[in-house]
Amino acid sequence: MDRALFPDGVERCSFGKFALWMGFVTAFFLFGLYAMILIFAKGIVVTGLDNYFGFGLWITFDLAVIALGAGAFFTGFLKYILKIDQLKNIINLTVIIGFICYSGAMLVLTMDIGQPIRAWFGYWHPNVHSMLTEVIFCITCYCLVLIIEYVPLILEQKQLNKIPFLHHLAHNMHVNMALFAGIGAFLSTFHQGSLGGMYGVLMGRPYAFREGFFIWPWTFFLFVLSAVGSGPIFTVLCCTLMEKMTGRKLVDFKTKALMGKIAGTMLTVYIFFKILDTWAWANNFLPSVGMTFDQMFYGIIYGKWLMFTEIILCGLVPAIMLITPSIRNNPTLLYTAGILDCIGVTLNRYLFTVQAIAIPVMPFDSWQFYYPNWTEWSTCGMIVAYGVIVMSLSYRYLPVFPQERALNK
């Protein structure tokens, strides 16, 4: 019944099936929405956060989706600035994923602050020394950029595109996309870095604190690198998941492998520096504040296995896999490496958020445990559901994949 809205020359599942799927996802969304309303009404006392864990699942989730959404800016940068034309096959998808990730993260942030009504103070009374201010500015600006990048895609919807004005508008926005890609790349690089910087400047938290270059601690650069080392491959994973779910080919494997190569290269650079950084931290910084590597870990929940999983299994291993052409060109191995990579970066964000503040710095203090409760999980679920909804609608009605027609002939 909504066939007239489909992009040209592609097949989509029946409306009933689609409605069923949307209903399924919307249920998650509504559950999260309920939790969100509860949080706004009663305050974050309803969450599992506490005095020791001011930051928890939400911040981890934010950092992770922002890192994984980095495919948008980095691919845009490669496509529009470095003119790697092959990426046009996947660029639309990166934009949508980026948009979902950033807008979702912003929504989570408004829930996360104690006084959502004062959220705008970040602009009104900015503290230029705070990495968080930089994050607030860059993240909102970049979200605007992503909207600007996403709008022409919407305007290209078959029926909308029939309106001449919208058609021309979309086109002209496309023409100037390089400019936005440039701005986006700049903004995104900065706030990815600032997110790392947020932790790197915490003098009181030996797990996170790093020296650095000028005002930027090393984590600033490591976060940028890890984001670009995982964002592109996350897009590939999303694309592949969509292919599996819809049964249609959306992007050719060559492009995917290219994305894998890009991510792999950046991940290799990242993991090289990450290992160096960790080594220096454990051997120079920690002793300088009187602490030992062992003191950074505790039991199983805060065990060393986390760091080794992050750096070796989900860092070094996928890096090698992705830069080795023979492995990369095998779909199964490519996706495996991609999943490891994404887990690694998520784990990294978790460790910097939760482990970093769990460590008792005062010798008479004790380790505390943090368990996110249902409100936190369900609101994160809401963001995921929101993403799935946006993605589903985009896939069904927008010409996201330029290759789709050719690949499914």
Partner: protein
């Protein structure tokens, strides 16, 4: 399909559209060009400056028509009633105890005085004066530190008034119209080389 398109063509389209608009405009005699815009603009400006203040502020009058003038004519200074205590804190508005030093019983002919004596002095209830410059709890203001300034450099000059000024209460924020804003404090501090550190004024 859109590859042939150019900016020039886009411009052309826009101009065509603009032409249509002009066409319509010609037909619409009653619209009178920019006039409606001007009317709307002027109306809004008038509404905003004249009606809005009435809308956002509710007017209140003091519970007792206190005449500063009469008291001043008796040779009283501001500081006769608005005193500093021994610990350097400022007493602000006088309480019954102070007022009743003279007004325990009616001594004049003013009905306001009679009202005061009947309603407050005799019952022991404090007068719920409206404070024109009431600050929120998070503000610490030291009158002692500002002693070198004249009262009227911040407060309404009520010394010569027979009737206290109308008290305007902001319906949204709940504060008086004359409540000094933070930027005013900060500006004066900056001009006088006084610290604008947060805790200088906040608690």
């Amino acid at each position: 399909m859109k590859t042939q398109f150019s900016v020039a063509k886009f411009d052309q389209k826009l101009q065509e559209r603009w032409g249509e608009v002009m066409e319509e405009k010609k037909q619409c005699k009653g619209c009178g060009g920019a006039l409606p815009f001007v009317i709307g603009f002027v109306a809004a400006v008038i509404a905003g400056w004249v009606l809005f203040p009435d809308l956002i502020y509710s007017k209140k009058t003091q519970p007792i028509r206190f005449s500063h003038k009469v008291h001043q004519e008796q040779g009283m200074e501001c500081s006769s009633c608005h005193t500093f205590r021994d610990d350097g804190s400022f007493a602000g508005l006088p309480n019954n105890e102070s007022c009743m030093q003279c007004h325990a019983d009616v001594i004049g002919t003013d009905p306001a005085e009679v009202a005061y004596v009947e309603k407050y002095a005799k019952t022991g209830k404090e007068v719920p004066w409206l404070i024109y410059q009431y600050q929120p709890d998070n503000v610490y203001f030291s009158h002692k530190a500002h002693e070198s300034f004249e009262c009227k450099s911040c407060h309404p000059d009520v010394g010569k008034t027979d009737t206290p000024p109308v008290y305007y209460e902001n319906r949204l924020s709940g504060y008086s119209k004359q409540t000094m804003k933070m930027w005013q404090c900060e500006r004066c501090h900056a001009e006088n080389g006084v610290s604008n550190a947060c805790h200088v004024c906040h608690k």
